[in-house]
Symmetry: C2
Subunit: 430 residues, 2 copies
C-alpha cells in the first residue's frame, strides 16, 4: 500500500471517487448500529444466565454466617461478597466495603463527600479556592464527567504504554497542594488497553503529594478481563494497596472493582478497598445514605461465581468471545489501513476497547461521517476532559456489543470513513 | 387500676418489689431480642419468595418495550416500573424516575446535590451562611441523620394527629429564607402512625415559602401499608403532587416511595416523583453518578407485583400479619398499663410502628432497663433531631420483626420496665 501522504492529488481524488461510491452503497443499506459504549454482547450476557437460577423461592436465603439476606443488616456487605470482590484485585477482604450495582457511584460519592466533608478530616473541597485532578488522557469519559460536574479543574497527563507520564505526575502532586486526585484505569485502560507497568505502580505508591487529602482513584474495572486464557499472555498488575502500605502511604489510594462486565451491567455488585482511615470516611457516609445495599444480589453473585477459580473460568469464556470481536476489527484495520499512514491502533490483551489514532484534526469528522451512514461511535473527544481532544485524533472503538456480522460491516464502514476524511485532510493541508 | 400518681409511697414500694422480682425472672431467661428497627418478620418476607422465581435462566429478559434489561440503558428506569411505583402513590408515571434499592439514598443525594449544586439553579446550600429544615417530631431518625450530616440546622415542629402543626410551618417558611425543606412521612407516620389530614395536605400545597429553593420531602414510605383490608378502615392521603400543581407550586415537592417494606428490605426498588424542573435536577445528577440502576430487579418486581391490584392483594396479607403483632402489643399495653397514668400509645391503622409516650424523663431509663434484660428497643430520643427528645418521653415500638412468642415476652418485659421506671420517677419527684 502506498501511504496517502505520498500520493499525488489526482490519485487521491480518483481514490476518493471510488471510496465515496462504496460509502454510499453502505449508507444505502440503512444501517443502525450503536457502538458508542462498552456494552457486553448478547452471547457474553448469556454466560451469566445461570446466576438467575442459584436463588429461587426454595432457597433458605441465609449467607455463610447465617444472616437472612432478605432483611436489613450488614451495611458493609456479606463477608463472602467481600472475599469474592477482594479476590478480583488481590486485596484483603478486611479492606473491602461492598456497595450497590455501580462502582462509578462509589467514585462519584467519594468526590461528592470530599466536596462537602473533606477527606479524613481535611477541609471540605467546596471551601477551597481551587481543586484539581490529574487526568491521564485519553481516559474514561465518565471519570472526567464527575470532576467536571463538581467544578474540579482537570489537568491532562499524557498516557504512555506503561501508564501515565510519571515524571509529570510526581512533579505536579509534589508541588501543587490543589491537586487532590488522579483518575486511573490501571489495567487494560479505557480506551487504549494499556496496563501500568510494575515500575509505574511502584512510582504511584511512592508519590509524595503536597496535599494530605490527595487520593489515587484506582479504578480496576478490567482486572479480570483478559482476552487470552494463557496466563503468559495476560497483563499483570501489582497490588497498589500493599505497595502504598509498604511505602507508609496506605491512605493515599482507593481501589474500585465491580462485576458490571463480569455478570450483568447494571445488575452487578461492586466494592471499594482502602485503608482503615479511608474506610471510616466511606462508612460514615454510607450509613447515612442508605440502610444497606442489595444483599440478595450479593448472595446471587457469590453462589454463582463462587471464588477466583470460578471467575477465571467464567472470564475465560468471555475472553474468547471478545477476542473474536477484537480480531475482526484488527483484521479490517490491518487489511484496509495498513501502510497508508492515516491511522494507528492499539493491540490490548484485555479490556473492552481498541483505541484508534487518526491524523490530527480528523477524529470528529470520521465519527460524523460514520453517523451519516448509521454507525454511532463514541463521540470524538469523549476520552478527554470536557470532551475536547486537543489533537482531535482519538477514537474509541468498542467491539463487544455488535454481532460479528454487524461488526464486519461496521469495520468496513469505519475504514472507509477514515480514508475519506484523511484524503480531504491531506488535500486541504497541501 | 389505680393511677400510680395517686398511690402512697408504701404502696408504690411494695409494688416495686413484686415487679422487680418479675423483671429479674425474665432477665434470667437470657432474652436476646432486637426490636430497634422496623424490620419485616420472616412470615412477611416469605410472601415475596415467589418474586425469586419470575425470572430464571430461561427468561427472555426483555421488558415490555423490548429492551434487554441485562445491559446498560434506560437510566431513569423501565416504563413498567415507573407505572408500578407511580401507582403506589397515585402519581403520574411521567413524573417518575426509578432509582436503586433505597429511597433514603434518593433523599440523601437530593440534599447532597442541593449542597453542592443548589436547587434548579439556586445558590448551592454549601455557600449559604445558614440552611434550616423543619422537622416534625417525633419523626424518622434517618431523615434527621441526613440533615445533621450536612450541618443543616433542624427546627422542631410538633406533630398532631392531623400532621405537623401547620400554623407554625406556614409562618416559618413564609418568614425565613434559610428554611429550605421539611421532612414528612405523611401516611402512617414514623413513629406515631398518623396520617396527614386532607386539610393539612391542602395547606402544604398552599405554602408560600420565602425561599424559592424550599422543598417538601414527602416520604410516602407506608403508602400501601394498611393494617385493615376494608378500605373504610384505611387512611386516605390526597395526592400532594397534583395539589401543588393546581396551586401553581409544582416544583415545591419531591415525593418518594419504595418497595423496601413491600418485598425485601435492601432488595427493593424505589422512585422519586416530581415536576419536570425537579426531575431535570435529579437526572443531571443521576447521569453522572451512575450508568443506571438494577433493571433486572425492576423487571422482577413488575412481573411479581404486576399492578396496583397485585400490590393490594400482597399488602393485604402483610397487613393481616402486622395487625396480629400490633394487637399483641396493644393487648399487653391495655391490660398492664391501662388506667395507671404512666403512659399513652397510638393506634395507627397502618405503617410499622406504635408510638409510646412515657412520663416525662422516663424514656431513656425504660429503654436502658429493657436492654438490661436483653431487649433492644429503638434508642430513646431517636425520633428527634440529634437524638434528643426534649421531654425524654417518646419510645418507638416496632412490633413486626419478632415472632409472636418473642413479642409476647417482649411486651411483658416492656410494661414491667415502664412500671419500674415510672415508680422511681414518681417517688423521686415527690
Amino acid at each position: 500500500m502506498e501511504a496517502y501522504q505520498h500520493m499525488k492529488k489526482e490519485g487521491l481524488l480518483a481514490l476518493k471517487k471510488g471510496l465515496t461510491a462504496q460509502f454510499e452503497d453502505i449508507k444505502g443499506r440503512g444501517l443502525s448500529l450503536d457502538m458508542s459504549r462498552g456494552k457486553p454482547g448478547a452471547e457474553q450476557l448469556a454466560l451469566s444466565m445461570g446466576m438467575l437460577d442459584v436463588i429461587n423461592s426454595s432457597s433458605d436465603m441465609k449467607n455463610d454466617t447465617g444472616v437472612d439476606t432478605r432483611n436489613y443488616g450488614l451495611p458493609d456487605g456479606l463477608p463472602e461478597a467481600k472475599r469474592l470482590l477482594a479476590g478480583m484485585v488481590g486485596a484483603d477482604p478486611e479492606q473491602v466495603i461492598v456497595f450497590g450495582n455501580a462502582s462509578l457511584s462509589i467514585m462519584f460519592d467519594a468526590v461528592s463527600r470530599s466536596m462537602t466533608h473533606g477527606v479524613m478530616g481535611s477541609t471540605p473541597w467546596a471551601k477551597l479556592d481551587k481543586v484539581r485532578f490529574l487526568c491521564p488522557v485519553p481516559g474514561y469519559d465518565r471519570h472526567f464527567s464527575i470532576t467536571e460536574y463538581f467544578g474540579i479543574e482537570m489537568i491532562l497527563v499524557e498516557m504512555t504504554e506503561n501508564g501515565p507520564d510519571m515524571d509529570v505526575v510526581e512533579k505536579l502532586v509534589k508541588e501543587d497542594e490543589s491537586i487532590k486526585g488522579i483518575w486511573c484505569v490501571p489495567k487494560y485502560s479505557n480506551p487504549q488497553g494499556y496496563t501500568y507497568s510494575a515500575e509505574t505502580v511502584k512510582r504511584f505508591a511512592a508519590l509524595e503529594p503536597k496535599a494530605r487529602d490527595f487520593r489515587i482513584f484506582w479504578d480496576n474495572a478490567y482486572a479480570v478481563h483478559h482476552l487470552y486464557a494463557d496466563e503468559r499472555e495476560q497483563d499483570q498488575l501489582p497490588d497498589i494497596l500493599s505497595l502504598c502500605k509498604a511505602a507508609g502511604r496506605e491512605d493515599m489510594v482507593y481501589e474500585f472493582v465491580s462485576t458490571s462486565k463480569v455478570t450483568f451491567p447494571g445488575s452487578g455488585i461492586c466494592m471499594v478497598a482502602a485503608s482503615e482511615g479511608n474506610r471510616k470516611d466511606f462508612l460514615q457516609h454510607l450509613k447515612i445514605q442508605t440502610i444497606g445495599h442489595d444483599k440478595i444480589n450479593q448472595l446471587r453473585h457469590t453462589l454463582f461465581l463462587k471464588d477466583m477459580d470460578g471467575i477465571k473460568e467464567h472470564m475465560k469464556k468471555q475472553g474468547e468471545m471478545t477476542l473474536i470481536k477484537f480480531k475482526t476489527v484488527w483484521g479490517e484495520l490491518e487489511r484496509e489501513l495498513g501502510g497508508l499512514g492515516i491511522g494507528t491502533w492499539t493491540y490490548p490483551r484485555g479490556g473492552y476497547f481498541i483505541s484508534f489514532e487518526a491524523l490530527d484534526g480528523c477524529a470528529g469528522a470520521i465519527v460524523a461521517k460514520a453517523k451519516e451512514a448509521g454507525l454511532v461511535l463514541t463521540p470524538a473527544g469523549a476520552s478527554f476532559p470536557y470532551g475536547k481532544d486537543p489533537r482531535d485524533s482519538n477514537i474509541r472503538i468498542a467491539p463487544t456489543y455488535p454481532s460479528l456480522e454487524e461488526l464486519e460491516l461496521a469495520g468496513r464502514l469505519f475504514v472507509l470513513c477514515v480514508k475519506l476524511v484523511s484524503i480531504d485532510k491531506i488535500l486541504e493541508s497541501r
